[in-house]
């Protein structure tokens, strides 16, 4: 296991190195430079940048410098704000995004699985059809529509939860629900399909023959076997949700990283683009590792080789 993890860690570092390099060169290809925004920058900033990054130097030298800084853990300074480090920007804005994303995933997956199990057990009844309906809505209606509806009806009309901002737990409810509809729909469809297949298998018949109740059959015997594909699709979804949804953050006035990322691209804020890309990539490879480890937890047959007792 330790050997496997070390190996995976080495691969993760290589992956991140490749992504960092690729992003660096891609950015150099994009027309426009940070100097297109020169009018917004002060003389002092310009000189800091030129000093620090040597933007006038040849690209390979810049690349080498960038990597050296990266090794030191220095992601650079944002062009948008006076002397604010990219690390600070990320640390400040990732918190709300990650919290919101994690809540949406937990909430969505939990109810998605329950919905999926119920509709699989009540296959082709009104329960199944209505859960299919919910899933289709969840997948096809964009989250900002839910956001608007929730804000108006639950926030304004009923006045149950605050309409916007990010100041405490009650502020998290509406954006979480709006963002959770997609993972909820995804999980419920995958769980339903898998459960129906699993419920047909011989070991479920055997469980029935043992005298197990429907609840034990569904949750003790079938669900675990139905979860593998769900984990596979949810992994990448976790990353995309935790790294912030621009739309939801805008609508609810949440100071998240999604907004930072998009803004930095529109104004060629190289250090911020690089920083956030690397962060997303790092999250992604970590989640992939977690998904791979989860497979083993769920299904003993996939438990990693070399795990001799």
């Amino acid at each position: 296991m330790a050997k496997y993890l070390t190996q995976r860690f080495v691969y993760m570092v290589i992956t991140l190195f490749l992504i960092a390099s690729l992003t660096f060169f891609l950015m150099k290809i994009i027309p426009g430079t940070p100097f297109s925004n020169a009018s917004k920058l002060s003389e002092a900033q310009l000189s800091i940048m030129i000093d620090k990054y040597g933007l006038d130097e040849p690209v390979p030298v810049q690349y080498a410098n960038y990597l050296l800084n990266l090794l030191k853990g220095d992601l650079g300074v944002s062009f948008q704000f006076n002397n604010v480090g990219v690390t600070d920007i990320i640390v400040n804005s990732l918190g709300p995004s990650a919290t919101l994303g994690a809540l949406a995933i937990l909430f969505g997956t939990f109810f998605g699985i329950i919905l999926g199990v119920i509709s699989a057990l009540k296959q082709n009844t009104w329960v199944d059809y209505s859960s299919t309906f919910i899933a289709v809505l969840g997948k096809s209606i964009p989250s900002f529509v839910f956001a608007g509806l929730l804000q108006y009806y639950v926030g304004v009309k009923l006045g149950w939860f605050p309409v916007a901002f990010w100041r405490g737990p009650e502020y998290m409810v509406l954006p979480t629900i709006a963002l959770a509809m997609f993972p909820l729909a995804t999980a419920s469809r995958f769980v339903r399909t898998e459960m129906i297949e699993v419920m047909e298998s011989d070991y479920i018949t055997l469980a029935k023959a043992k005298g197990a109740s429907w609840f034990e059959i569904a949750f003790k015997h079938a669900l675990r076997n139905a979860l593998i594909p769900v984990v596979t699709v949810l992994g990448p979804l976790v990353v995309s949700l935790m790294t912030g949804s621009l739309v939801i953050e805008k609508i609810f006035g949440i100071p998240g990283i999604g907004e930072q990322f998009v803004k930095s691209i529109t104004i060629n804020d190289y250090p911020v683009i690089m920083g956030t890309t690397l962060l997303f990539a790092a999250l992604f490879v970590v989640v992939i590792l977690i998904v791979d480890l989860l497979y083993g937890v769920i299904d003993p047959r996939i438990r990693l080789a070399g795990g001799k007792k």
Binding site: D202, Y203, A209, H221, N225
Partner: protein, 347 residues
């Protein structure tokens, strides 16, 4: 001999898109305490459906027990509630399935799977159930049961898994054990081991067994009595000697003639011509008539009743009617009938 299970005039249909499939069309048999009844027949004859009906494991959505009763110790299983049925399954009646490779839950340890019915039906504590499970693993011949207890199905071979399935079935000392082709998916040496094990365990825990198979060799090895099924009906039932050495129904003749014996030399092995009846539109008369070279006119028009051959031996063929002409059964059967007379006379 006390009857433990009685199936009376059972009719089961499946509702499909093409119409109603009458899979079971009036099945009658009983099972005595401690005996092994083999049900034989080709695919689609209704043997598995009968066994699943006893366990009430047929899919609720499209199957229908139209009439008849399944009496277990006097109570009709077809009328029990789902809750009450859960208390019968695994405790009084349990089942072994055909394919050990798929009948164990891949994500649950062997131990947990054995403990489950014990905790459920015998209300033992986890520790006591564990002790019982290890005992029973030892009983079915699994070495190192303490270690094996915590392992998963994929760490077991096919034969070992079938032993585990048997252990699960026997965990609560059931009164009836239904074995649905338990050796079909195993190779011949493992088959023999599993059959030996089942016979051995039957003596130890005094259970009655319904053994479903299409392998006549297996039947001769394990059964006390044999029921031959064809087209959703039992066409012949009797003790193993009666059915093997003095068969009366032309279908049984066909089965026996198509089985090689040690006497079989160069002669070509017999095969029953034709295909099984379509139970979407079951024939009016004897279902076997179209494939039966001994068929008479009445076979096509009216279903034969069960004719009594001896106290234990019945067969549903018009050939046993007093007015029927005498026919010569196939050579292989005649040979067996002569052996049967020899056995009877004690030679």
């Amino acid at each position: 001999m006390t009857k433990i299970l009685e199936v009376n005039d059972l009719h089961i249909s499946f509702h499909t898109f093409s119409g109603e499939v009458q899979a079971i069309r009036g099945v009658n048999f009983d099972l005595n305490k401690g005996e092994t009844l083999a049900i034989v027949g080709e695919s689609g004859s209704g043997k598995s459906v009968t066994s699943k009906a006893i366990m009430r494991l047929l899919p609720e959505s499209n199957s229908d027990i139209k009439s008849g009763e399944i009496l277990f110790e006097g109570k009709d299983l077809t009328k029990l509630s789902d809750k009450a049925m859960q208390k019968v399954r695994g405790k009084d009646i349990s089942m072994i399935f055909q394919d050990p490779m798929t009948s164990l839950n891949p994500t649950m340890t062997i131990g947990k799977q054995i403990i489950e019915p014990i905790v459920k039906h015998q209300k033992l504590s986890k520790a006591a159930a564990r002790k019982r499970a290890i005992e029973i693993l030892e009983l079915v011949g699994i070495a190192n049961p303490e270690v094996r207890f915590n392992q998963y199905p994929h760490q077991f071979s096919g034969g070992m898994r079938q032993r585990v399935v048997i252990a699960i079935a026997l965990a609560c000392n059931p009164k009836v054990l239904i074995a649905d082709e338990p050796t079909t998916a195993l190779d011949v040496t493992i088959q023999a081991q599993i059959l030996e094990l089942m016979k051995d365990l039957q003596k130890k825990i005094d259970t009655s067994i319904i053994f479903i198979t299409h392998d006549l060799g297996v039947v001769a090895n394990v059964a006390d009595r044999v029921a031959v099924m064809y087209g959703g009906k039992i066409v012949e039932i009797g003790t193993v000697d009666e059915v093997f050495y003095n068969p009366q129904h032309p279908y049984t003749w066909g089965l026996i003639s198509s089985m090689p014996t040690l006497d079989t030399e160069d002669e070509e092995l017999y095969a029953i011509p034709g295909t099984p009846p379509n139970l979407l539109h079951p024939p009016k008369g004897d279902a076997f008539a179209p494939r039966n070279e001994y068929a008479m006119k009445i076979d096509l028009e009216e279903q034969p009743p069960m004719f009594k051959v001896s106290d234990t031996h019945y067969a549903a063929t018009w050939l046993l009617h007093p007015d029927a002409p005498k026919v010569e059964p196939p050579l292989a059967v005649q040979r067996r009938q002569r052996q049967f007379l020899d056995i009877k006379e004690g030679k």
